[in-house]
Symmetry: none
Subunit: 211 residues, 2 copies
DNA sequence: TTGCTATGAATGAACG
DNA sequence: CGTTCATTCATAGCAA
């Protein structure tokens, strides 16, 4: 182990001991964590923007006809999570609690009911949908074979396509047109249990010991 | 010996198995994927913010952002089928394809990608919308006299009395709330053990400019 | 400019 | 659980 301390970068190989490697792994895990959380944060923020922008014609705006009191649940039978609720849900979902147990649902519902009308069924459906959606985005990739190529990253670049010269005048410059399904992290998902990664960023749950 | 230039990688391979190296590569590649997502998300959010603050209720200043041509990296355009694509889709839809999903989607996508940028999601959405639209066109022809029943909207297609989690216009929760989620970010100590990033984690920093 | 219409995309809820 | 349905939102395209 004495040789492993060499802070001299002359020979990387010498410092590449198991310990060093573990450090590397932890660093990577840390970055993964940061990225994951950033993703969720952005998602939450986006949802907020969405909500409040759409709220202008919803309930927030005072509609002379629509009495903001109870008893008027006519239009829109569909539950819509408030920004706060959404954020909480995202957090819980991300935190690895991929275990939507019944008991959990109750707790979450209680928690969320403080921020708006909600029921256990809503929470249940939300988690169901969230998981299904996450999976769908990553299906085409992650073939049964893992040892050959990580073309998943490449697929992001394969979005190259000839410009369809139709009516759109200024779209040619646009980099992306649609968020394709191939872009999804396969490790961050609490549900991606089928991954065969050794270090398994999904395994980073144990990186907590590092910090 | 010209081999004396021995890359670190070569020697590293001695302490790190090829498998481990590959795993690390994948992990790093995964960051690229996540960061891509982040960039995309950020772009979308920025676009939304710009839109609602500048157009909807702002209009305090003219549009300094609409620069036709270059430099326009916000605003995500939605996919628009080319005439050729549309025709193909219509044909497939009309062919009695009552099962418009799954494997078929991939085939159709491949087919259509010959005529323009498209993704499976686009095809999927198109069929979803197409069917829903077709159905709704025929629904109003139920035959009830138009001289009565103004409450039909509520009880027309009453399927189940699932009255759980209704949403009343009252939003007790404020529409806004500070994004305190950032407090969850935790950074690993890069200086731990005195070793810096051994791998090109710096490569990630190229995304830094995006956010 | 402002508004409307058509439609792609997002998502809560239901089905099997 | 995975897929599908139904409703809504946001935006492209056009009209007055």
């Amino acid at each position: 182990m004495e040789e492993g301390v060499a802070e001299e970068g002359a020979v990387c190989a010498k410092v590449m001991t198991d310990e060093q490697m573990e450090v590397l792994r932890k660093q990577i895990a840390a970055y993964a964590t940061i990225c994951e959380q950033l993703v969720e944060m952005h998602r939450a923020i986006a949802a907020q923007q969405d909500s409040l922008s759409g709220m202008r014609l919803g309930s927030l705006c005072s509609d002379p006809l629509m009495a903001p009191g109870v008893g008027k649940l006519s239009s829109r039978q569909r539950w819509t999570p408030t920004p706060t609720q959404l954020q909480i849900l995202e957090t819980i979902f991300y935190e690895g609690n991929g275990t939507p147990s019944k008991q959990k649902i109750k707790e979450i519902t209680s928690e969320l009911s403080q921020h708006g009308q909600i029921s256990e069924t809503n929470v249940y459906n939300w988690f169901q949908n969230r998981r299904a959606r996450s999976k769908r985005k990553k299906q085409p990739a992650a073939g049964p074979n893992a040892a050959d190529s990580e073309a998943e990253v490449e697929s992001l670049n394969e979005k190259k396509a000839k410009a369809h010269g139709n009516l759109s005048p200024t779209v040619d410059d646009g980099p992306f047109q649609s968020p394709d399904i191939s872009s999804e992290l396969r490790f961050a998902d609490p549900e991606s249990n089928g991954s065969r990664s050794m270090f398994a960023l999904g395994d980073i749950s144990k990186y907590g010991d590092a910090f």
